[in-house]
Symmetry: C2
Subunit: 743 residues, 2 copies
């Protein structure tokens, strides 16, 4: 009964949705597009995803591996077979692989770290030892250091602040930190900046090991010897080949000397398992770590320094390695020079089933079905470009080099970039350019969740409501809009969105596919089909979602970018920034008052070393008025645009084409050539990865990070830069309005 009721709800929603037009499509074309999508859906077959995943994950397929190249060729052949104009774009990039890896604890209880992930008889690809990349962090420095250890929690800046208050220094020490909290690459970077000579990163069992659930192969979580490989390149400065920043790493490219590369770590850094971590963590003396620093090991977490010294020796092979990006084009029937681009990477750290092949096979099936549509006379109006990126894991290498390579063409032609990076069971998640909010929500309303038979938007809403506190439930009730997250770093959209200003979306399902296999030899086909997406039902749901995005963007009469949702999000960001500044001011005032009253001195335990905070500079008031006036003007024009939304569909084709050119170029106006302070590669002024948080996005990064770093002058300068950016954006809106309203 219960299920029947749900199906009825679902059907009624479905029906309503089908009765509506699609944004960007006239009433007449809506029906046609829906029929196309019905055929598209009906051609999708989960068995293909299964077959392809088995092949693509049959051997380790990292950058430079035999299987990596074979996978590229395999996919290129598929695309070709489906009617795509396919090429393999090749680049030569710096991708270090380890030669020597030694980590040992000296002293009275010596220990030599295993640095090995054992094979499992339950999983038949875990025994491919000779093909597997050893456990390591790519772009670590070579080094041979012996020093005491200090534990610094996640290795973020606030952890170093806390450490300083405890009177412990990492100068000349090897830092040991937990994974998580901040982007992996910031851990050795901050360790180096604080004077450490080496860095060890371990997977604490509290994060993805036994504390979370049974470990592999009994359950999905990280076994005691599982290690998270991963890049530690300084990607918040710039991703891509460190020897060719801003230009493509072609054979003949001018390369920096490795010593000049800005994004390679300066100290040796090595990831280890929690079994290997235990003796090192037990060797720590000194103060007991603060409660929030504790993890899941059965020990008292101390800060250090350790009684005994640790010895870390690492050397790498620094040869250039080849990249193989698969680029498959389906030229548009009407607007071949307008490109809608779709990508997922194909390289993994080892056999990489969940990361990245689960997303890759979904993209392939989507491309296959669209190829079939084209063969049957339904070729999309705009050009579709399907990409399978190599080298995402080390540093978004494949996508970055390709976007750098084709930057002039892409700036001119790219309408949208749609990314995925793996997929699992559960709830739709989406991030991206906020002018795509309505467009994406319309699609999420029509794709049906394979487990519950309601739309993926309904199910996501249910999950947010159930997971929310009472306040969220009250304020959110009935509001089913999926808010797009802002995009920081983390996958292949960076070159498109942040370097070139191309509207982007990143999507995927998740939340019900548990695991601690990330970047280990246990991320396999066997693990995936047991724990992530049995039967590839969500793989198909992803094909349906992304396929609709591609098809609608390709066939729309008027491109469905909507500036009102961008504007309202922007207003929120500006509001947040002002709150941040005010909170910082009141916190500074309160802290300084408390310092002057001696409260920190009085409250602390005199038997422990603990430095009270120091007086901070006052937080000034900044002038937001020009920015806010600009925003008000922008809001006015966005409202005018919203009012002529359907009118645009009745304009003549020539005007529509003029408008479309403006619309897909709008996101470009959000970039500035000079880029962000201290990192000119990042040109987008609204979204960027955090300079000091890495993965975590910073919105209005120029202003926000300046405030966070208490650089008031730079904050004020960036308020003006953002204002100019919005002004340029608004001028385009005004141009569009002029076209619409012209006789």
């Amino acid at each position: 009964m219960k299920n029947l009721a749900l199906i009825l709800i679902s059907l009624s929603i479905h029906t309503i949705a089908f009765g509506q037009t699609i944004s960007g499509f006239s009433d007449e074309k809506t029906q046609q597009q829906r029929e196309l999508e019905t055929i598209f859906d009906s051609q999708l077959d989960a068995k293909n995803l299964d077959t392809w995943m088995q092949f693509l994950t049959s051997h380790p397929h990292h950058v430079g591996s035999k299987q990596g190249k074979a996978n590229a060729e395999y996919m290129a052949a598929l695309f070709q077979q489906w009617g795509y104009q396919t090429e393999i774009a090749t680049y030569q990039v710096l991708f270090p692989t380890p030669n020597i890896r030694v980590l040992e604890l000296k002293g009275s209880k010596p220990y030599k770290a295993l640095l090995t992930e054992p094979e499992l008889k339950e999983d038949n690809t875990t025994n491919q030892k000779s093909e597997q990349l050893p456990t390591y962090n790519a772009y670590s420095a070579d080094g041979d250091v012996t020093a005491e250890l200090v534990y610094v929690n996640r290795g973020a800046q606030n952890d170093y602040d806390e450490l300083e208050r405890m009177g412990v220094s990492v100068k000349g020490k090897i830092v040991i930190v937990k994974y998580g909290g901040v982007w992996r690459g910031l851990k050795p970077k901050l360790a180096y900046e604080h004077g450490a000579v080496g860095c060890i990163i371990y997977s604490d069992p509290q994060d993805d090991g036994y504390s979370e659930g049974d470990v592999y192969p009994n359950g999905a979580f990280r076994p005691k010897n599982g290690v998270q490989r991963g890049s530690v390149m300084d990607m918040p400065v710039s991703p891509g080949d460190p020897l060719t920043p801003g230009v493509a790493a072609t054979k003949e490219a001018n390369r920096l000397d490795r010593s000049e590369a800005k994004t390679i770590m300066k100290i040796p850094v090595l990831p280890i398992s929690y079994e290997d971590a235990l003796p090192f963590m037990q060797s720590l003396a000194g103060p007991v770590a603060p409660p929030s620093w504790h993890g899941g090991l059965p020990i008292t977490y101390h800060v250090g320094p350790s009684v005994s010294k640790a010895h870390l020796k690492l050397t790498f092979n620094w040869d250039l390695k080849p990249l193989y990006d698969v680029i498959a084009k389906l030229p548009g029937s009407e607007f071949p020079d307008q490109w809608v681009i779709r990508g997922n990477h194909h390289d993994g750290w080892v056999n990489g089933a969940s990361d990245p092949i689960s997303g890759m096979v979904s993209e392939l099936e989507e491309a296959r079905s669209i190829g079939l549509l084209a063969q049957n006379g339904h070729r999309p109006k705009r050009t579709l470009v399907y990409c399978a990126w190599d080298g995402e894991e080390p540093a978004l290498l494949g996508s970055t080099e390709w976007t750098e390579d084709h930057q002039i063409e892409l700036r001119e032609k790219a309408v949208l970039y749609v990314n995925s990076d793996g997929n699992s069971r559960g709830f739709i998640g989406a991030g991206g350019s906020h002018s795509l909010t309505s467009f994406f929500n319309e699609i999420a309303d029509e794709v049906i969740d394979p487990q519950t038979n309601v739309s993926i938007r309904e199910r996501r809403y249910a999950s947010e409501m159930v997971g929310g506190d009472n306040h969220l439930r009250e304020t959110h009730s009935g509001n089913k809009t999926i808010h797009l997250g802002a995009l920081g770093a983390g996958s292949d959209w960076s070159g498109f969105l942040q370097y070139l200003g191309i509207s982007s979306l990143n999507i995927g399902f998740g939340g019900e596919g548990p695991g601690g296999e990330y970047h280990s030899i246990y991320d396999t086909y066997t693990h995936f089909v047991r724990f992530k997406d049995p039967g590839f039902k969500y793989g198909i749901a992803l094909s349906k979602t992304a396929g609709r995005i591609m098809l609608r963007m390709a066939n729309a009469e008027v491109l469905p970018f909507q500036t009102t949702s961008f504007n309202s999000t922007l207003s929120e960001y500006i509001g947040e920034i002002k709150s941040l500044l005010n909170a910082s001011r009141s916190e500074t005032e309160q802290d300084n008052k408390m310092i002057r009253e001696g409260l920190f001195e009085l409250a602390k335990d005199p038997l422990k070393i603990y430095q009270s905070p120091k007086i901070k500079d006052d937080v000034p008031y900044l002038n937001f008025s020009n920015l806010e006036n600009e925003l008000a003007e922008l809001n006015k024009d966005a409202d005018l645009m919203a009012k002529v939304n359907r009118k645009m569909l009745r304009l003549d084709s020539k005007k529509q084409q003029e408008l479309n050119l403006i619309f897909y170029q709008l996101e470009r106006k959000l970039t500035q050539d000079r880029g962000l302070p201290r990192r000119s590669w990042y040109k987008h002024q609204i979204y960027a990865p955090g300079y000091y948080s890495g993965y975590g996005v910073k919105t209005l990064p120029g202003i926000r990070e300046a405030i966070e770093q208490r650089n008031w002058k730079e904050a004020q300068e960036n308020i003006e830069i953002v204002r100019q950016t919005l002004q340029a954006y608004d001028q385009q809106l005004k141009a569009a309005l002029a076209i619409i309203n012209s006789k």
Copy 2:
């Protein structure tokens, strides 16, 4: 320099305080009282605390032990020597001690629990095996059960709700739960109510073991075999001897048969160490426990049931055992029939240094100094009664039987009861009757913290500010008032406050004396002087604080109860209750709406068993108007009282005596003979231990618990009962005002 600055701040506060009068004292008498306190302070000597603790903790001193009796006699002799009229009040109480204790895991990985705490060569009283009570829970049932295990987190009602949603039942099972969260005795009670046949309680290392810090003897925390003994009597129903509820357990008392006793557990229950817990926890299968249920063991926490069965066998010696309360009186020079009472218990679970002797020795030194004052001609005006309670650990036995024994006299004579129960290094903490807020704060302003040389009030304020979030810092800044906590259960005030309606205070220092020795053989002199209060500096600070309370209450011309702070606290409580009701209403509405919309069904993982919540009855609006009108009337009278605060000190002595009689009887008016619903022993209508939370206080318990249990009719009835209670209280205020304003 920094320290000097602090001393200067401290001195200036000190000076200001000394310039003020003391509440209840005329300007003339203030100076005299201060001089008395200066002498009192100067006579205190930390060496005495050390000496006495060494004697009192030299052997295990639980109820019925040889050392327990010796301690009572030792202290009685001291009191006698200091000029107190001393007696040892003796009662015969049911106090079970274990005969047989067996806990074992059956099946393929059998394990027999050790149930033993090993002696340590570093601590010379840990080897007194033959004198130690074995590890057990007093008032467990006898039993011999074999069943599968189920893990239920802390064993609170919401844990059972969650368990039910996971589709797991404890019917016929043995429940294993962590210590903490709710009063120990509720764990087996709720287990029984849900159909379990046995209960195991273990000390998770996350709570007071290695997760918190190094374990004893390296550090202060619970070692792997350390066990928390403790009572599981159903004290939220009534404390004291279970065979003589409401009457004294004298030799000749009428006793219930044990089978009729309401407060003895119905199933066997046993506490174990985390080493013993590990194999049992590892045996659990079934769903992975929710994240908030995880602890510090290096395993995946499962809910169960276990694959193998556990066998629990317990039998007890149910003999009556003797109690020895030491009662030492110093008759008042002017008002011998007005008693100011001070108490701390003397029985421990084993050698009990921190709990309770650290508080006991501080009380002794306080009594010694006051005895000396009396001998030197400064006998207090009112009678002081110094008590050392036996049998607090099993069930507040000594204090409860004594208050039941002397209830008529106490109702007539008791002005105040001041409790402590152990002491440590750090910050003053205080709970009690809110009419004592100002009185206590004046004292906290004058006692100097031994580590920082500011007042204990200043230091407590500093700690709250530094520990608070920015909101607290902003709203709290400059407000140095120590808010008294409300008293629930947990120590010997229950008979005084909740049964007899005697104004009470409970005080002690803490926050900087770490430890996991609680109720184990490791709570020793050696542990105490290493980790808790080296040099007994805070022991002396407690003597100074409690001594001032005693001396001021004994010598005050007008008793310094202040109704405005009681009223404002009461207003807060009523506000909280209304918010609770409103929150419950909006949460119920929101939940029911979400249930009807099917959101819980949509959000849940279809591959897991998880019951969605069920529709709840609507929350009605209750009528608070009569209660609020009564409160308004009370506020008016309290304001009038506040205005004549100093005027009262100029009244003639006869009027002052009339007023004093009213004042110290005021708290009695907050009781109702019928007691609280389902527990008539608890007569106080403002404060009670939670029926379903145990230690945790419930303020306005009759109303609050009815709302929490969704018993709307009972809630409305109790609103009226509280109104009547406040009316009776207000009538006394009006009587006092009439006396003050009469010509």
